[in-house]
């Protein structure tokens, strides 16, 4: 016996229950449209008046633009050697100075952003998709599958990322694809766990039960009814995860386990800067600024989005 709620509006989403015509008795279609549009406007306004969210958005756009347009923005070839002018300070020819081989630091930072973007975009989106699918299956599938997947997630999560990376690189040698694989493998479980919890809370709600009683397949239920309700928080989580991924890449490259030379990465710039910190301190600063800005940007953006789109969040967090 499936318990059916008597409540006229759906408790989770607040969407009014509908009758056979597809609309509740007391509202017209135009009114619903108007209400939804008003809600969108309110959310947009609250986003635009949130200075942190706006700063975050600007920083994120800067990050994307500088990485995508690096070949046009960079004043020099990032790998062109110019040993006579090595370790020069910031000047008109080299706005952020040069490194030990006379390569232009600004160009290397711009190209380094491409590596960061590549890892963040592919790493986060792939792990998001896989994590979402696995999490929904775990939350919706049979109990034994749920336990099995949970065990798997927790096993992977128990590995410290950097140590796992160190061990893997020792076996395979450093490369960007290894970094990418490590990022994906270690981030899947956290998305999966969030997706699983959200799916579990939805699993016994009326609209899902109704869908199932109408004979919808599991794929259809998951894809059309569960996913739209789960994916929102996950996207915000992903936005906040980008800086983590960027710093993991930078960290591994700093340790010499990420990109291989001569490719520039923020991590290698930091490492090279660290080695000459007493001779040329601006290199560490120049390499650190984009990392700080990216972290701040995505964190601010993610938090602002969460505040606005998650009704359960109170003010002042």
């Amino acid at each position: 016996m499936i318990p059916v709620s008597e409540n006229p509006s759906e408790s989770e989403t607040g969407i009014p229950a509908v009758d056979a015509t597809g609309l509740p008795d007391h509202v017209t279609e135009a009114e619903i449209r108007e209400s939804a549009a008003r809600e969108h406007r309110e959310k947009l306004r609250s986003f635009l008046t949130n200075w942190q969210g706006l700063t975050g958005l600007i920083l994120v756009i800067l990050f994307f633009a500088s990485a995508i347009f690096a070949p046009w923005l960079a004043p020099y070839d990032p790998n062109a050697l110019d040993v006579p002018s090595r370790l020069s300070g910031p000047n008109l020819e080299h706005l952020a100075g040069t490194d030990q081989l006379g390569r232009d630091t600004l160009s290397r930072i711009l190209y380094g952003g491409r590596v960061a973007l590549y890892i963040a975009a592919i790493g986060v989106s792939v792990s998001l998709v896989i994590g979402l699918i696995l999490g929904m299956i775990a939350g919706f599938g049979p109990r034994w599958l749920d336990s099995l997947l949970l065990l798997l997630f927790d096993t992977v999560r128990s590995f410290p990322t950097i140590v796992l990376a160190l061990a893997t690189v020792a076996l395979t040698g450093p490369s960007l694809s290894v970094v990418l694989a490590i990022v994906i493998i270690t981030s899947i479980p956290q998305y999966a766990r969030v997706a699983r919890t959200a799916t579990l809370t939805l699993r016994n709600t009326d609209f899902i039960l109704a869908e199932r009683s109408l004979g919808a397949s599991m794929t259809r239920t998951l894809l059309h009814h569960v996913m739209p309700n789960v994916v929102g928080p996950l996207l915000i989580l992903a936005a906040m995860d980008v800086p983590v991924v960027v710093t993991v890449e930078a960290g591994l490259s700093f340790l010499g386990l990420g990109v291989t030379p001569p490719t520039a990465s923020w991590g290698t710039i930091l490492n090279e800067g660290y080695l000459v910190i007493r001779d040329a301190p601006w290199m560490v600063i120049a390499g650190g600024i984009p990392l700080i800005l990216t972290t701040l940007g995505f964190t601010f953006l993610g938090e602002a989005l969460r505040d606005i789109f998650d009704p359960r969040m109170g003010k002042g967090r």
């Binding site: 790998n79 030990q100 660290y274």
Partner: protein, 516 residues
């Protein structure tokens, strides 16, 4: 209800602001605190095997020099090194080409109640080395004759002039107590079974090794009562510790050496031990991609070594023309090839090679990585794609050895540096035919080279020795498998209140440091 306390965002904001503040320059002036009569130094790792027969070398030799008797020690004479007898002997003389007489000083005693130091201890110590990992240093040793309690004769099987310099002055020349070794089971690792020297040894793994005054010591007192060697793996961290006044002396890298040379801080000095290191880029002559000698010669012509010396070493190192280091018999003054990218392209065209892609393996440290990237750019200019593969020291030192796996088959290019002792024979021993797959990773053999190696050891005429070693390096260069790079100095910065004593190969001898 109003929430108070730290919010996540507030925390982030504060941290960012604090971080920005911390970036404001806060230069510390180098201050050297003289903590009583303690010498504070850096060692790059724990001493794992102190036994002279089975050690790795480096700082382990430094420890042996403080705690064990040696018959001879290095003496610096301007730019060149010679030897002199130590305090432990009253006589050390080369009677003829194959006999060295010695007499031990009276009153030397081993710690832990193992009695006086005897000539039989010398016999035991040197003869056991013939079956050790360092047996190469004792190839020429026939036996040690004991003629009295404290007198004896070292007998060589053939004339071998550098025996005192390279064997007796170096770590393998340490003398052990025969009785204590018998009690210890014939071998030891991290603590000496018995010491005889100004210091006793105690180590905390991962932290420091401490040398304290030996109460049984009757010989000349060292300048410092106590020596603390802190384990600091990274050269840069050690440099910072020195600048903060936490160390009295430490080794420095090339760019720091350049900075100090240009602008020496007050109260700081630089001591250069020697330039007994030779670095080159090696090529595997058996690898299918590099089998054609014209390809190897093209690479020799394509690498701009002068740019490497400037870019990676800040102009602090001497350009190399072979494996014999500056100041030694047999050093060459020029190489048989020069930087000539046009010639390199011609050679590649003659060999019919295009689109060559090779892997360059290197140790993952600053100077080598910079060198590798310059080589990468140089070779790209003649149409060779280079993938740089940085490695940690473990896999790096094993990659060409057949006994350590199969990597030697895939080895293409690599940047290598060997250290040596002040005699040319030592550097040539690694490239003979029987070293193929051991240390001759370039994997060529040449009967003339092997013959000259033997001749070089036995030859006592300086000019003839010079010619032999020059010819040996020509043979190496003509294989096309070597691009000579540089001779790195072992340089130390030190507080001017401390006088440094270092072996030409870079090991410090703490007991010969001076104060004031």
């Amino acid at each position: 209800m109003k929430q108070t306390g730290t919010t996540r965002r507030g925390f982030l904001g504060t941290t960012a602001a604090l971080g920005a503040l911390a970036l404001a320059p806060a230069w510390s002036t180098a201050a050297f605190a003289q903590a009583g009569s303690t010498l504070r130094l850096r060692i790059d790792g724990d001493n794992n095997v102190l036994d002279p027969g089975f050690m790795t070398g480096g700082t382990e030799i430094e420890a042996q020099k403080q705690c064990l008797p040696f018959l001879a020690q290095y003496a610096r004479d301007g730019e060149t090194f010679t030897w002199e007898p130590t305090y432990f002997v009253t006589r050390l003389e080369q009677r003829d080409a194959t006999h060295i007489d010695f007499e031990l000083t009276e009153g030397l005693t081993w710690s832990n109640g193992y009695g006086p130091v005897m000539a039989s201890d010398v016999k035991y110590s040197y003869e056991r080395m013939k079956d050790s990992d360092w047996s190469g240093y004792f190839d020429a040793l026939e036996r040690v004759d004991v003629t009295g309690d404290r007198t004896g004769t070292i007998v060589l099987s053939r004339p071998f002039a550098p025996f005192i310099m390279i064997t007796l002055c170096h770590g393998p020349g340490a003398v052990l107590s025969e009785k204590a070794m018998a009690d210890a089971g014939g071998k030891f690792t991290t603590s000496f079974p018995a010491v005889c020297g100004p210091y006793t040894y105690e180590a905390t793994p991962g932290q420091r090794a401490v040398f304290s005054a030996n109460p049984d010591w009757t010989g000349p007192q060292p300048a410092f009562d106590r020596v603390e060697c802190n384990v600091i793996t990274e050269v840069k961290a050690a440099e910072l510790a020195f600048e903060a006044g936490e160390l009295d002396c430490t080794e420095v890298g090339a760019d720091t050496l350049a900075r100090y040379t240009k602008d020496m801080p007050e109260g700081t000095g630089i001591a250069v031990a020697g330039e007994l290191q030779y670095m080159w880029m090696g090529m595997n002559t058996e690898h299918p991609k590099l089998q054609d000698i014209r390809v190897r010669q093209a690479i020799q012509h394509a690498v701009d070594v002068d740019t490497i010396l400037q870019g990676a070493y800040s102009g602090t190192t001497a350009k190399s023309h072979g494996i014999i280091c500056p100041g030694l018999t047999g050093q060459r003054d020029s190489a048989g090839y020069s930087y000539d990218p046009a010639r390199a392209r011609e050679l590649l065209a003659e060999a019919g090679v295009s689109g060559l892609e090779v892997t360059l393996r290197t140790l993952n440290n600053q100077e080598r990585m910079l060198s590798a990237q310059i080589i990468q750019a140089n070779l790209a200019a003649v149409g060779i794609t280079v993938n740089v593969l940085p490695l940690d020291s473990g896999p790096f030192w094993e990659m060409g050895q057949e006994s350590k796996g199969d990597t030697w088959k895939d080895l293409e290019l690599w940047i290598m540096r060997f250290g040596t002792t002040p005699d040319p024979y030592e550097a040539t021993q690694w490239f003979t035919s029987d070293q193929v797959g051991v240390w001759n990773w370039e994997r060529w053999t040449d009967p003339e080279f092997d013959r000259l190696y033997e001749e070089g050891i036995n030859e006592t005429d300086m000019q003839k020795r010079h010619d032999i070693y020059v010819r040996m390096q020509e043979i190496m260069e003509n294989t096309g498998a070597y691009v000579w790079i540089n001779h790195e100095p072992e340089a130390f910065v030190h507080s001017t209140s401390v006088g440094v004593n270092a072996a030409p190969s870079g090991e410090l001898n703490y007991r010969r440091f001076t104060q004031g």
